[in-house]
Every structure is written in structure tokens, then in C-alpha cells.
């Protein structure tokens, strides 16, 4: 067996967590160093994995072409007369869909550690929770066994609850429990579908039911009888809808989005960064990894409604963002808008749209992480995030303004920055699928430019209020260290997106073909729209 890269990258934070737990809570420096080292190693590993990643292998529903595969029997209970064998594998692997997410998770976690240095309340507890969260996120993107996936998916909830609830802003209790209840409500639906899929799927090799997601993607061979065995049947439709809700809560898709602004506003900077940078992607990743390939016929059937959800997210998010006076809330709503592009792109069900969607997941991760870090910078100085309370920061903080310009324009989708590439692909794909909703969705770009530029005007133009004269200093080296890598990635992928695109296209092309091929043309819901 080869070196277990995925296990190491996933469980490294757990090791870090144990080390932090063993350290005395007074030893702040040691605790922070541990977190830096662990997440730094994670980035290193992610780079090694990315370099060793073979972009020409499709993966998705093809077990042989998944990469860095680790498969060990985990729970194995031999056959009883009245109940088949129970087998759950520890099955980790990646393909072109998860590869960008693994890189993103490692990168954002690493940068978030630096943003966490401003935390000064029970530092030990903070990093314990932070590292546990990190492990959960990484695990979600590496797990191929659905049981394992679910465990990682849920493991994140508790640390997130505490991270928002203990280290958050004034309304943290409300925000934390709201996040917890919303996401749990989603995940229990996922749990039920998972159980149903388990009883339907049989692994031909062992004859036992299986949680292996790849087996679930081959209904003809592996789903002979059971709840979800018949394609186009009502149970499968309900399962698709349940999964959609489960993932939509995480994305979040309107109308399940209300936890997000609360959580973002109350969470400490680093956690907002993680939340926007990685956590939201788990929703769309889940759709692409589970909903689409396991229920392909309904991915096709519900294509137009999904596009409409995308459209609503884009425009609703943008309109809400426009009305905000709190910097963080503005970015939270802009996240909703930008995740709408992801939904729109994947609903296109063609390779351009899909590539745009996954690219947008990555780019939104970096851009929004940067935006939240930027908000963190002024919040640390002024202890307020009111947009109308600032002005004229351009003169006072030139370097800060420079980074902000990059992030803002990337968010708007200016050519030459990474946001443009993904949005262009999304629209390219979506237009082929349905011009009507795509054209309407472009409204989001206009609105996006509107609120971003307006914000820029309010904060950076004009004159600096007296009271900020003394406190506002330009970005510190530590802050530059967190912002610069993101800026570089944004610029680099804006000019030369091929490394990222190459990583994912083979898999996504395969996913699209596979979804379309296994869903024979039939009537589509709201097909006339």
C-alpha cells in the first residue's frame, strides 16, 4: 500500500488537536505554533497531492480511476440468517471534483490560523475546535464511503457551534444555535436518504449492502430491488428533493439561507473565512458528488428549477447586499449571490457550466476569504463594521486599499481576475442550457458591480472621519502574509486559469456525460420555461 496521503491530510489536524490539548493553556505561542505547523503541513501535503494528481483520470463513478485510494474494511459483521452482512469500508479517494476542494480547504485553513491570532479568549479551546473543524472539512472532500462522508459532515457542526458561540459577536448565542439547528435539519434528511440507499445498493463483489457512493451510481448493476431501485420513481424523486434541501441549507440556497448572515456577522473573522471559504462549498460539492450522479434522472428532470434557484440566489443575494450597511453582512449576502452562480453553472449540465461551477467554488473560496480578512483588518482597528462610518481610507491605508481593489474587482468579475473566468464559464454553459434564465441572471453582475463599487466609494473615497485618524494604520506584515497569497492566486488564475481547469475538466466532462447518459430523455419539470 502506498503512503496514505488522504488519511494523513485529514487526520493531521486531529493530531494537532491532541497536541494542543496536552499543552498548558498558558502557552499561547506553542498552541499557535502547533496550529500553524499542522495546517502548514496540510498545505504542503495538498501541494504534493496536487502534483501527483493525474488530471487525465475521470473518477466520479469509476472506482478504478479514483486516485490516492485508500480502502480498508472498517466494520464487518458476518452474515446472519435474517440479515445480510454488514460491511462499511473506510474508503477515501479523490478525483478532479474533490482535488480543487482539498487544495482550497488546506489553503483557507492555513490562512485562517493566522487570522486567528487576534483571538484572545481561551486560545487553547479555540484551536482545539478549529483543528477539529479542519479535519471534518477535509474528510468530507476525501470520503467516498457515504457513512464516512456523513460522519465527517456532522463532526464539523459541533466545533462550528462553539466557534461562533464562544468567540463570536454580541448575538453569538442566537447565531450559533441557528446555524446548528438549520444544518442538522439538513443532515438528518441526508441520513435518511443514506439509509435508504444503503438498503437498495448491493456490492456485487461481496453480496452485501454497501455505503460505497460509487456503487450507488450504478443502479442497473447494483440496485436490483429496494426503495430506490426503480429509476424515475417517486421515492427516488423525494430522495433527490431531500438531498437538495440538505445541501441547499449548507450552500445556502434561498429560502434556506437565513442562518448565513447571522452566522457570518457574529463569527470571528477567521471563522467567517472558513465558513465562506470552505463550508458553503460542501453544499454544492455534495450536490455534485451525491445528488447528481446517484439520482441522475432527477438532476436532468429538475434542471430548470435548479437554474431558477440559481437565478433567485444571484439576484436576491445581490439585492440584499445592496441594502446592507454592515460590511460583513454585505459580504455574507454577496456570498449568497456568488453561490448562485455555482448553482446556475451546475444546473447547465454541460461541461462548460460544470467547470465554471467548480471553478467558481474555488474562486469564491479565495475571493470571499480575502474579503472577510479585509473586513477583519478594519474591524480590528475600528471595532465597527458600519460602512457609513468610514470614508477616505484610500489615502490612509494605501496597501490595504490595493488588496481591497483586487478582491472587490475579482468579486465583480473583472477580466484578468479569477472571478471572471468562472463566471464566464458559468454563463457560457448556462446559456446553452436555457438562455432565458441565464440572461436574467446576468442582472446579478450589474447589481454586483453596483454594491461593490458603492461600498468601495463609501469606505475608501471621500474624507476620513476625524475619529479614525489615529487608529487606522495600514496592514501589518501578518495581515499581508494572509492577504498576499490569496491576491496572488486570484491574479494568477485570472490570467492563467489552465492549471485549475485542467485539474477538473476530465472528471467534470465525465460527470456530465454520465449524468446525461444514465438519464434517458424524458419530460422535464417546468421544461417549457
Amino acid at each position: 500500500m502506498n503512503f496514505p496521503f488522504l488519511s494523513v491530510i485529514t487526520f493531521l489536524p486531529i493530531l494537532g488537536m491532541v497536541i494542543v490539548l496536552l499543552l498548558n493553556k498558558e502557552r499561547t505561542k506553542a498552541i499557535q505554533t502547533t496550529a500553524v505547523v499542522v495546517t502548514g503541513l496540510q498545505v504542503l501535503l495538498a501541494v504534493v497531492i496536487a502534483l501527483g494528481f493525474n488530471a487525465s483520470l475521470p473518477g466520479i463513478n469509476n472506482e478504478a480511476t479514483m486516485q490516492f485510494t485508500e480502502r480498508l474494511p472498517w466494520i464487518s459483521i458476518p452474515q446472519t440468517p435474517w440479515f445480510g452482512e454488514i460491511r462499511i469500508d473506510y474508503f477515501m479517494a479523490i478525483d478532479g471534483l474533490s482535488m480543487p476542494m482539498v487544495v482550497l480547504t488546506a489553503l483557507i485553513s492555513f490562512l485562517a490560523v493566522f487570522a486567528s491570532f487576534s483571538v484572545n479568549k481561551s486560545i487553547k479551546g479555540y484551536f482545539v475546535m478549529f483543528l477539529l473543524l479542519d479535519a471534518g472539512m477535509m474528510g468530507v472532500f476525501c470520503a467516498i464511503d457515504m457513512f464516512l462522508f456523513y460522519i465527517f459532515w456532522e463532526v464539523m457542526l459541533l466545533p462550528m457551534y462553539f466557534l461562533i458561540g464562544i468567540w463570536g459577536g454580541p448575538r453569538r448565542e442566537y447565531a450559533a444555535i441557528k446555524f446548528f439547528i438549520y444544518t442538522l435539519a439538513g443532515s438528518v434528511l441526508l441520513l435518511l436518504v443514506m439509509i435508504g440507499l444503503y438498503f437498495t445498493t448491493v456490492d456485487p463483489a461481496t453480496g452485501a449492502h454497501t455505503f460505497n457512493m460509487i456503487s450507488m451510481m450504478h443502479p442497473a448493476e447494483n440496485m436490483k430491488e429496494g426503495l430506490f431501485a426503480t429509476l424515475h420513481s417517486t421515492p427516488r424523486m423525494l430522495a433527490y428533493i431531500a438531498l437538495f434541501i440538505a445541501f441547499a441549507i449548507k450552500v445556502p440556497v434561498f429560502p434556506f439561507h437565513t442562518w448565513l448572515p447571522d452566522a457570518h456577522v457574529e463569527a470571528p473573522t477567521a471563522i467567517s473565512v472558513i465558513l465562506a471559504g470552505v463550508l458553503l462549498k460542501m453544499g454544492t460539492y455534495g450536490m455534485l458528488r451525491i445528488s447528481f450522479p446517484i439520482f441522475p434522472e432527477f438532476a436532468v428532470y429538475f434542471q430548470i428549477p435548479l437554474m431558477i434557484f440559481g437565478f433567485v440566489n444571484i439576484v436576491y443575494g445581490a439585492l440584499c447586499a445592496m441594502a446592507q450597511t454592515d460590511f460583513k453582512k454585505l459580504i455574507a449576502y454577496s456570498s449568497i449571490s456568488h453561490m448562485g452562480y455555482v448553482i446556475l453553472g451546475m444546473a447547465a449540465l454541460n461541461v462548460q457550466g460544470m467547470t465554471g461551477a467548480v471553478m467558481q467554488m474555488f474562486n469564491h473560496g479565495t475571493i470571499t476569504a480575502m474579503l472577510f480578512l479585509l473586513v477583519g483588518v478594519i474591524y480590528d482597528r475600528a471595532h465597527t463594521r458600519g460602512l457609513n462610518e468610514f470614508g477616505g481610507l484610500y489615502n490612509k491605508m494605501p496597501l490595504y486599499s490595493f488588496f481591497t481593489v483586487i478582491a472587490f474587482f475579482a468579486a465583480i468579475g473583472l477580466p484578468g481576475l479569477s472571478g471572471f473566468v468562472s463566471e464566464a464559464f458559468v454563463f457560457l454553459g448556462a446559456f446553452q442550457a436555457n438562455p432565458f434564465w441565464t440572461v436574467l441572471s446576468t442582472l446579478g453582475i450589474v447589481l454586483g458591480a453596483g454594491y461593490m463599487l458603492w461600498t468601495f466609494q463609501r469606505v475608501f473615497m471621500g474624507t476620513l472621519p476625524e475619529k479614525w485618524e489615529a487608529v487606522m494604520s495600514d496592514v501589518s506584515p501578518r495581515e499581508i502574509f494572509t492577504l498576499a497569497p490569496l491576491a496572488i492566486i486570484i491574479l494568477f488564475l485570472g490570467v492563467y486559469p489552465s492549471p485549475a481547469l485542467n485539474m477538473m475538466t476530465t472528471s467534470l466532462d465525465h460527470l456530465v456525460r454520465f449524468v446525461k447518459a444514465s438519464a434517458p430523455a424524458g419530460q422535464a419539470f417546468l421544461g417549457g420555461f
Binding site: I177, L191, L192
Partner: protein, 503 residues
Amino acid sequence: MPDIIFQSTKHFWPEITLALTFIAAMIFEFATKKRTTGTGILVLLGLAAALVQLPSAPSEPVSIFGGMYAIDPFSTFFKYVIIVTGMVVVLFSFQSQELKKESGHTGEYYCFIAAVTFGMVLMTGSSNLVMIYLSIELVSITSYILAGFSKSLRRSSEAALKYVIFGALSSGIMLYGMSLIFGLTGTLDLSGIRTALASGHAVTTGWSFAALMAAIVLMLAGFGYKVSVVPFHFWTPDVYEGAPITITAFLAVASKAAVFAVMIRFFYVAFFDNMLASTGVYSSFRNVDWSMILAVLSVLTMTLGNFVAIWQDNLKRMLAYSSIAHAGYMLMGVVVMSNFGLSAIMLYFVMYFFMNLGAFYVVMVIADKIGSENIDDYRGFGKRAPIISVGLSIFLISLTGLPPTAGFVGKLFLFSSVMASQFIWLAIVGVLNSVVSLYYYARVLKNMYLREAPDGDESPIVFSKVTSAVVILFIIPNILLCFFYQPVLTFAQRSIAILLPGL
């Protein structure tokens, strides 16, 4: 006749050991008035002696004492849960300050624990209505005394009184149900009832079907009282809140296990699926959707338990409602009445044992320290008593059923068994209920971690090393059983064999 007795006694040693323990503890208590802990140790040893005899139980179901009592893997499984719970409760009691206040009586307390454990063990194997009634009464009467053991506490006496009144009523109802069944079938033996109904030997007049229905409903109500199924749950919160916390823990785990065992045996042996073969008036039995009736009870129980728990300020009382909710979850396994459902219930009991006893233990040691079980008084505990707080958090998360805890696996298999029997709506209600339950469990976490102590007090609350060790001992299985539940599940699957007639 003596032959039967000798043959039977061979398998009956764990029960005999328990009975002897009870008698020995009583004599010991009389002989040495003051050495109360000694009685406890004696009881502990007795329980341990009974426990070590369990593995030698026959792997095939055996009927002993002329059909009065069944020894089968099913009952053995529950005996393990009950006896181990009894031992843990005795150990907890050594540490409880609440009991120490009642000076001079703690010896009796341990005697009664032996008696109640004996009764519960008898319940798991009873296969005759009289035997069922006697064992339930043995448990009930002893529990009444134990619930009221903190005599100086008003709420304890109130709890005992309520328990007596409700309990007596439920016993009466159950007894009436039994008499109807006896009248109709002419037998008290569970497998005899099954045969009588199936072969048409039972009395068949125009009203007999209605009478049988009434009898079953009465029996269900009786069992329902004991496991606090809605709408028969009213005694539970008061008794759980008022009783000494060790007894609350005992009732919540062991008593529930015993009643579930006897209830499952009663319905499984006497009434399920044999009704498909019944003839004459009883053939309409087929059309009664028993699963649906149980499913509705299960939904009512978990929903009410969870929703009412939200409003509780006293943690002990909240755990009482949560235990009502958990009875509802476990009923789901009875609803499907499949082997899978049975093994899921058994698995759940093991998980429930660890999470619930852990939670009650923490509530007990905290109450001993700060003299309160109020959730608001837990503010700032996360900082002041880290190990205890982490422990309680894990137990509560386990009760919610989130990974990576044992409770998740328990729920996973319960829901799986329900899904496997195509009761999808029930599974949906079940999972949504666990979302609701998160809200009140998280409230404890909120007070412990998200809030500061009211007076800004951050001085650590020191718990003894033993306490921390016990908490850690309970944390370990709660985490470990999420990942390595294989032995428990295998054991549960092997233990589904219930003694059936003609098998």
C-alpha cells in the same frame, strides 16, 4: 416434579444469586447496623456474581419451571444491561452526598437495589402472565420505596406518592387485561395464549373479539405506564425529579430495559404474526394494524418528550423528558417487530446505558457540589470544571445522536430498521425529533460554555480524581462505540432469539 425443578434450577442460578444477595444483604444490614457501605459492597459482589454466570446461559431458548420462565439469548442480553446498570448505580451511590444525608438508612437502600435488580431480571424472562405480574410488582413496589428514599426532601416524598398512585393504577389496569385474556383463552402461558387463539380453542362468542382487543389495549396501557409512553407518562417527570438521582438513573435505564423486554416478549410471543393463522372471530385480528397503533404511540411519545423538554429549567427534569423521548425512539424498533428492529433496540440500550448514566452521573456530582440541578446554574462551568463539562457535553451530544458518539450509531440502526420495514414517515418524524432535541441539549452546552458565571466567578470547581476518572470512563465508550460498535451489534444480533412455542 422435582425433576423439572432440578432441570430448571440449572439455568436459574443468576436469579438465585440475586435473590440470595438480597437476603444476605438484609441479614448483614441487621447484624451490622452501622456499616452501611458494607451492605453496598456485599450487594455489588452479589450482582457481580450473578453477572459472571450470565455467559454460561444456553445459546438456544429453554423453557423452565413448566413454562413459567424462559431462558433465551434475548432475555440474557437484557439481564446484562440490567445487572451492569445495577452495579454502576451502586457505585454511584457510594459517592452520592444526597444519600449520605439520609444517615442510618443507606443499608436498606442497597438491599432494595438488589431486590429491584432481581425483579427486573425476572421480568426479562417471564413467560407467564402471573410471572409477568409478580415480577413487575416486585420491581414497582421496591421502586416506590427507593423513589421516596430522601425522606427529608419534600419532592422525594411527593415523587414516591405519585409513583405509588400511578403505579397502582397501571398495575390494576394491566391485571384487568390479564384477567380478560385468561377468561378468553383459559391459559396464562404466553405460548398457550398464542396456540389457543390460533387454533380456535379460545372462547368465541360475539363479544370475544372486542374483549380481546380491550385486553390488549389494557396490557399496552400497563406497559406504557412503566416505560412512560405518552399518554401514560405523567408520573415520569415528577418521579425522576424527586427521586434520588441514582435511582432516577436506575429507573431511566434498567427499568426501561426490563419493561421493554417483557413488553416485546408479550406481544411477540402471544400476539404477533400468529394472528395471521387465526380463525373464527379472531380472524378480524388480521385487520388491526398493530404496527400503526404502536407507531402513533411512538410518535406521540418522542414528540411530546422532546417538545416539553425544551421548557425545562431543571436538568434532571429535562433528562426525564428526554428519557420519555428516548422511549419513543425505542418504540420505533418495536413497531417494525422484525429481527432487525429487535437488535436495533438492544444496540440502542447499550448506547443509552453509556450516555444516560454518564449524564446522570455528572448531574449528580454537580448537584453535590453546587446544590442545584438548575441549568442556569451551570453557567461558566466549561471553564471552571473542564473535564466534567466536556463529559456532560459528550453525553448530551450522544443523546442527541450526532457523530462521533455512540448515540449516533444507536439512532442509525433504529432508523435503519424502520426504513428497512418501509415505515418512511416514521423515520422522518424520528429524525426531525432529534433535531428538536438538539435545541434543549444545546441549551446546557450554551450555559456551560457560551455564558459566564453570573458573578464573573472563574475559580475552578475542583472535583475529586475519582469523579474525573469515572467521567472519562464513560466518555471513552461514548466515542469509541461510534467507530467500533461491531462487537455490540454482533452480540445484539445473536441475542434476538426469543423463546417461541413449537420452535
